[in-house]
Symmetry: C2
Subunit: 392 residues, 2 copies
């Protein structure tokens, strides 16, 4: 058995980012930038007005003075002339400041008439003017490579005049559920059988993490079925299996993949739920074997699959962020396994569910957080400090 951190380090160490692809700006959101975005222009391109009003010379604009309006400069239509003494040009938010003017008189501080404008409040030189390049200048680095692009980043890339982005390809993650007892939702369920839930939950999880899920057909509990199933993952950046990972007599996943040449790295970690976690490499394709219990599978996905998808997507990949909180119900001492306890979360208080069985999907779906307990942690009382992983 290896620790959670050691397992994650070994998984991440075996993974590298997908290659870059060119996508339209609209497809770039939530992808990881593969090449830096530099500004292709200066923004604003010239000194512009931040308000609606009049461009004029501050020296002229004392209260009570009336100025001659010699033109207008709507945004996108710069005034071609020069503002001279006792002259003004009508302008609007985003208008280019005309030559000769050094101040903006706000429209609420003025009265416009047919032939001119009367100043009610003196305008100050430079005020309400956005300077050329205030946001960024031609050639500035706008977004560094390796960043997952937010909606704001998309706006910034657009403003920098980029219609295309180089991003890492979304990692394709093949998901293979195994077991004679499972059937697809809606399909007939055999005696003592259950409906496959892991593959579908994991597919949504992969999509949420920015990957492209591919659900492979369910593989029955035969070596050849598992080996053939894995053949269907060809071209995937990662194969995720569920079930049969504990390498017991009926835990055929490892054996079935070994039949196709998988090199096993590890298959047992010191955590609960989720002890049987398998990792290996099959012909260059990494394989992550998750437990069959739905709660174990999901917790392992949070701890290992998410960082793996991040790494494949172009990010470093890291342990999930933990948030401090207080315990809402006592917990017994922990054993040698790192424990992830399903709990509700209200105002910083994490209250564990009374039943923590790793087969209970409903508890998991209704949990807000997982309380992380280090190995050998002593018993905890109500109000004790804990660290939690907030579920999305």
């Amino acid at each position: 058995m290896i620790t959670v951190d050691a397992a994650r380090a070994r998984i991440l160490g075996a993974l590298s980012a997908t290659g870059a692809e060119t996508v339209g700006l609209g497809q770039g959101w939530n992808r990881v930038l593969a090449a830096p975005v530099y500004a292709r222009l200066t923004q604003p391109p010239a000194d512009i007005s931040a308000m609606d009003g009049f461009a004029l010379r501050a020296a002229d604009a004392a209260a009570g003075v009336k100025l001659r309006v010699i033109g207008a400069a709507p945004a996108g239509h710069p005034f071609p002339g020069v503002v001279g003494p006792h002259e003004a040009v009508r302008l609007f938010t985003g208008s280019v400041m005309p030559e000769g003017a050094d101040a903006v008189l706000l429209q609420e501080d003025a009265t416009a008439t047919a032939d001119g404008v009367t100043v009610h409040e003196a305008a100050q030189a430079g005020r309400h003017i956005r300077r050329a390049g205030q946001d960024f200048a031609l050639g500035d680095l706008l977004i560094a490579a390796g960043r997952r692009l937010s909606a704001r980043d998309i706006g910034l890339a657009a403003a920098g005049n980029h219609a295309w982005l180089a991003v890492h390809r979304a990692p394709r993650v093949a998901i293979m559920a195994t077991g004679d007892e499972i059937s697809l939702p809606g399909d007939p369920v055999g005696p003592g059988g259950i409906v496959s839930s892991n593959a579908h939950a994991l597919a949504a999880f992969v999509a949420q993490a920015g990957g492209e899920p591919v659900i492979l057909p369910i593989a029955g509990d035969r070596l050849e079925a598992i080996a053939e199933g894995a053949d269907g993952a060809r071209g995937a950046d990662l194969l995720v299996t569920t079930g049969g990972a504990s390498v017991g007599a009926h835990d055929l996943v490892g054996a079935g993949l070994a039949a196709r040449g998988m090199v096993l790295d590890f298959w047992k970690i010191a955590m609960r739920p989720g002890k049987p976690l398998m990792f290996g490499t099959l012909g260059g394709m990494p394989v992550l074997g998750l437990p069959g219990n739905p709660v174990s599978a999901f917790v392992c996905a949070m701890l290992f699959l998410r960082p793996a998808i991040d790494r494949l997507s172009g990010l470093p990949g890291a342990a999930p962020v933990l948030v401090p909180g207080r315990l809402g119900a006592a917990l017994k001492a922990n054993d040698q396994r790192e424990d992830y306890v399903r709990a509700t979360w209200r105002d910083g208080v994490a209250t564990p569910f009374a039943k923590q069985d790793s087969g209970m999907l409903r508890n998991l779906a209704h949990a807000d957080v997982l309380i992380r307990r280090p190995p050998h942690q002593a018993a905890l009382a109500v109000g004790d400090a804990v660290e939690v992983l907030v579920l999305g």
Copy 2:
């Protein structure tokens, strides 16, 4: 001018959820459930083993005893017979408990031989058995309508034997940028012109919020161009415009939409950035007019568009969640407008950027949080308590 909360209440009051559609389970993630999901079967369907081992009668299973193994029950293949005295059946995680057995002997507490199994540690009745219906029973409510579906919910719906889900249609949000000064990324930029960034940032924002963005062509600063642009939004659940919302001489959006019959609700709110926020209804379609400044547009999107998309998606829609923190740099007293200050966020400390100009997209993209300041808030010193809106 109305307050931020009043504006949001009026927007939400004018919106209702989209209709339901049937989608495959795989399309259900992040959609809002329109009809409750009830369990179509009991889970587990029978008492099952939670471990690998042997099913037997606890009364027989004292340490040192040897039992006869009369068969095996791999998961999905229930043992058809009955376990009698001094008999055992090999089983595995997920195996149905055979009739007659009331205990599970763990395989690590036993030695299997060709003809039987020797008990090393006494098995307790009921231990390591998952009871029928422990997770849920036929007919149980698994997921209530009105919930945005997580990956775990998808797993739970699958386990409940649902291949299809009734979810609210993802709201279609048409986005129309306006202004003679803007051009599409990569297209030629006119003198004093800038590149359109709002529509692209907002499209990503809409997608992130679970909507379907439609970017309309840029509408120039002519009434007819704006009116025609709005015609292109037909069938949208919401039209979002950017720019020209302040209803000034060159703020033609309201006038252009009025030409098509828009009923204006309000167009001015007491907040910064973003005072010119317009809301109205055009032939049954709600219209949200965002400011043209990219920072203002984005902050207004966080405060109004996100709740609006939530409401259209089937959720109630609410003010964004605020998180407590400490201030990292002093702030002057606030005026009558609710203020959203761009800031970095490290270990609970929000440090405002020195420049808060609403035209500075780069600052916005690099911000981690917005510090919310109520109207008329007094000056704040380093270390004072603040509330922040964490940017995603």
